[in-house]
């Protein structure tokens, strides 16, 4: 029997995998929420009542050997009951609701559904596999999981419903947990207020003596530099890395565009490789690239910073550019091709005019980011004005730090303004 014939005999025989996946994800979300709550409770027990050192606790999650199955099963149970006795956050997030026969389910039905769930799903999902449309527990309890809200006469307000309370609980739990994990101590801001005030006051009386004159104290590879010198170096680093990055990203972006490459299997392979590389290189931050290049070339050399910025720029711009190429209007391309244009001419007269404005806008945006990054990349050996900043900070010379910070603010501000204005002009 062919699949068409099967579909004709049993109209519902085709399994809706998307729906099953959503159901599974919704359940997983509930389970994870309860796991998170359990983790939080354990954390609080440790923090406030037990004497296990906190560090060791959340390093190893010091549960006894029987604790793990207990935690897993306990959170599973909580997830099941919360899903059946009300509208849990997992159900709400995916828009699900448990229905009776065209009405809200009775409490009896809800309890039956929860109990039957164990028989139907726990034995390796037997009930699910045998009838994915309406699993055993739903059939036997006379209920159904639907994507619409149930026609209950009175719908509860969000903050009275189970999912609303749960969401609120999660927010409170997260902030409380975060407070403990980060060891937030607002008191220290006041207790060390003198120190803080001293730094701020000294920074607000900036020392611009070495703005143009090289500072004899600061030496980089046997040369003294002034603030202005380092600011210019920083600007050049940003400029060079943006130009280099855009130059490399432009051709690569066509290799990472589905509508350009997706015609044969080799093209698809190139597309996936390019996109994967863009994503991986993009998710390693510029600062981390700078460490790698600082080790490779020279610690504190502007070249390391330029290379780090360039690599990240290629990846980021490549992704943005190729998304633009994918959004290309095929009309002009076909028109030029129909008029007998070669591949180069198609690109010259149909593709580039379409993508040029957004390419310029992205490049300017990236330039803005690169200026920001290049001011601090020196921390990890990338060179630039950050060298001065961190040197003075280590010396505890806060008036000079203030001067450098002010120069940085001026640079970033000016670049932000210029690039914003230019982008407006382009758009």
């Amino acid at each position: 029997m062919t699949s068409d014939a099967a579909a004709a005999v049993h109209p519902k025989a085709r399994v809706d995998w998307g729906a099953l996946r959503r159901r599974f994800l919704s359940f997983l979300l509930d389970w994870m929420i309860w796991g998170y709550i359990a983790y939080g409770v354990m954390y609080f027990l440790n923090a406030y009542w037990w004497t296990v050192p906190l560090e060791r606790f959340y390093t190893t999650l010091t549960l006894p050997s029987w604790g793990w199955p207990l935690a897993i099963l306990g959170t599973l149970e909580m997830a099941v009951w919360s899903r059946n006795l009300g509208r849990s956050l997992g159900l709400r997030a995916f828009g699900y609701e448990v229905w009776g026969e065209d009405a809200a389910p009775t409490p009896g039905q809800r309890v039956r559904r929860a109990l039957l769930w164990h028989l139907s799903v726990l034995p390796l999902g037997a009930g699910l596999w045998s009838s994915p449309e309406r699993p055993w527990h739903d059939r036997l309890a006379g209920t159904e999981l639907r994507l619409l809200p149930s026609p209950a006469p009175k719908r509860r307000k969000a903050f009275l419903s189970q999912w609303g309370i749960m969401a609120l609980l999660l927010v409170v739990l997260t902030i409380w947990l975060g407070w403990l994990i980060i060891k937030i101590d607002l008191g220290v801001l006041i207790r060390r207020g003198d120190e803080g005030a001293r730094i701020w006051l000294e920074m607000l009386r900036p020392d611009f003596r070495y703005f143009v004159r090289p500072d004899p104290v600061f030496e980089l590879r046997n040369l003294s530099f002034s603030i202005l010198d380092m600011a210019v170096v920083t600007l050049f680093m940003a400029l060079l890395s943006t130009i280099l990055g855009a130059t490399f990203a432009f051709p690569l972006s066509f290799l990472g565009a589905r509508n350009v490459m997706g015609f044969n299997s080799i093209g698809w392979l190139v597309y996936f490789v390019m996109r994967g590389l863009f994503n991986i290189f993009r998710s390693i931050d510029t600062m981390l690239w700078a460490v790698i290049f600082a080790v490779w070339v020279l610690w504190g050399s502007p070249l390391a910073g330029v290379l780090a910025l360039t690599v990240h720029t290629i990846a980021a711009l490549g992704k943005l550019y190729s998304e633009q190429v994918e959004g290309l209007d095929p009309g002009p391309v076909e028109a030029v091709a129909a008029a007998g244009g070669s591949r180069i001419e198609v690109i010259r007269y149909a593709v580039i005019p379409q993508v040029a404005p957004s390419f310029w806008a992205f490049t300017l945006y990236r330039w803005d980011i690169n200026v920001r990054m290049s001011t601090v990349i020196a921390l990890v050996g990338g060179g630039g004005i950050g060298d001065l900043l961190f040197y003075y900070k280590n010396q505890g010379d806060w008036p000079k730090v203030g001067a450098v910070v002010m120069v940085i603010v001026a640079i970033v501000w000016a670049m932000d303004y210029i690039s914003g204005r230019l982008r407006e002009r382009i758009a």
Binding site: S283, D285, V297, P302, L303, G305, V306, L379, G383, V409
Partner: protein, 418 residues
């Protein structure tokens, strides 16, 4: 004028009429303003070009940084002369940007003697600033030339890159890139770039052979990083939402509102231009390195407030005023207008911006760790500094996975909200 008896009506002389004087003054100032802007742009362009050239020469030959190879008066004189020459004998960058061109009264191209007169007269009248108080300025009267909006009638358009401005831009770009290359790339690091690639082999290898023994403590630090981002973002939202209403131009009108708007926007802009890393340094000294994650959170918090306030306020500025008026016209109070006209328009973008910022904060939290701001970044930096490549690679993999996951999650959620 009613004071004069009939028959003796005399108009007061035109040079005494106060309004006429004011009008004439405004006209002259406006004309002078534009001419000054053109001159200023040319001076700036030529000055920067000279600075770049001397920068390259001094760095290349003497290995010091000098912004001008000649004394400052020679520098000033040279720049002024060059600008005057350029404006008189070509179409300068300033003219180009202001869409002006030096033409005669009749709109024809000037001949050489007119250009020469313009050039010489410029020295006589503009340098002592005398000529600018006349309209047209005296040197333009003398030569019969003035910057007019260039008309395309009866001539074939010359592409701008074939004019003197185009040439200038080309030279400027070449010199700029040359300066950038010469200052950022020295021979030593360039040779190392091509010979020392082996130093990173260990690192790339480590990416494929992670050290599983540090997995659990690393995940703990990863948790700290995530919580840093969450806490910083949520507390920033609490501050940024009220501030955004005070920083929205369309809501803050009047003598009290406008200064608040200006001050807030300025402050936010300054706070935003300081990278979280710099904030972290300041806060680390304040709260001591013992509470590293706290300092990191404070740094992210401050930067997030500034960023979110700007994003939120810009969104508020673009709300549809029709809806607000519609609700207000039904006699609703201020709060009701806010509840039924403003909030529905901004709630989804606000959540979307917050998710976006959270996404950024996760990435920033790893970076802030590098200066000692706690979390996974601190661990990574520790390994990198001690050349523990295998461990560093492991941590790097974890960070990539985290950033990737959060990026995906936040993009999906934002797509749903849009």
């Amino acid at each position: 004028m009613g004071r004069y008896p009939d028959g003796l009506v005399r108009q007061p002389p035109r040079w005494l009429d106060r309004r006429a004087i004011a009008d004439a003054l405004v006209l002259r100032l406006r004309g002078a303003g534009q001419r000054l802007a053109i001159v200023f742009l040319d001076l700036l362009a030529i000055g920067i070009l000279w600075v770049l050239v001397s920068y390259i020469i001094s760095w290349h030959f003497h290995h010091v940084i000098a912004y001008s190879l000649v004394p400052w008066w020679a520098f000033g004189l040279g720049v002024v002369e060059a600008a005057a020459l350029w404006e008189s004998f070509g179409r300068s960058l300033g003219h180009r940007v202001a869409r002006r061109e030096l033409l005669t009264r009749g709109g024809t191209f000037p001949n050489f003697s007119q250009r020469l007169r313009h050039f010489l007269g410029w020295h006589l009248f503009v340098l002592p600033l005398v000529g600018l108080f006349f309209d047209p300025p005296l040197h333009e009267r003398l030569s019969g030339l003035s910057p007019r909006s260039a008309s395309m009638e009866g001539r074939t358009p010359v592409p701008w890159w074939r004019t003197s401005s185009g040439l200038f831009v080309a030279i400027f770009l070449c010199v700029g890139i040359a300066a950038a290359v010469s200052v950022t790339m020295d021979k030593e690091s360039l040779t190392r770039l091509f010979t020392q690639a082996g130093r990173t082999v260990k690192f790339w290898k480590a990416l494929f052979s992670p050290d599983t023994s540090i997995l659990l403590p690393s995940i703990r630090d990863l948790l700290v990083t995530i919580f840093m981002a969450v806490i910083a973002t949520s507390f920033a939202v609490v501050v940024a939402v009220p501030l955004s209403f005070l920083a929205a131009r369309n809501l803050m009108r009047g003598p009290i509102g406008r200064p608040i708007y200006t001050v807030l926007r300025g402050a936010m802009s300054i706070m935003r231009s300081i990278e979280p890393i710099v904030w972290a340094i300041i806060f680390l000294v304040w709260v001591t390195a013992r509470r590293a994650p706290f300092a990191g959170v404070l740094a992210l918090w401050v930067h997030s407030i500034a960023d979110l306030t700007k994003l939120y306020a810009e969104r508020l500025e673009s709300i549809d005023p029709g809806l607000v008026e519609a609700i207000a016209s039904t006699g609703a109070g201020r709060l009701q207008v806010l509840r039924y006209a403003v909030v529905p328009q901004i709630i989804n973008p606000y959540i979307s911006f917050t998710l976006y910022r959270w996404d950024i904060n996760i990435r920033m939290a790893t970076v802030v760790g590098v200066v000692g701001g706690g979390g996974i970044g601190q661990r990574l930096y520790f390994y990198l500094k001690n050349l523990a490549w295998q461990q560093a690679g492991t941590v790097m993999i974890l960070i990539v996975i985290l950033v990737w996951a959060i990026d995906y999650l936040s993009a999906r959620l934002r797509a749903k909200l849009a």
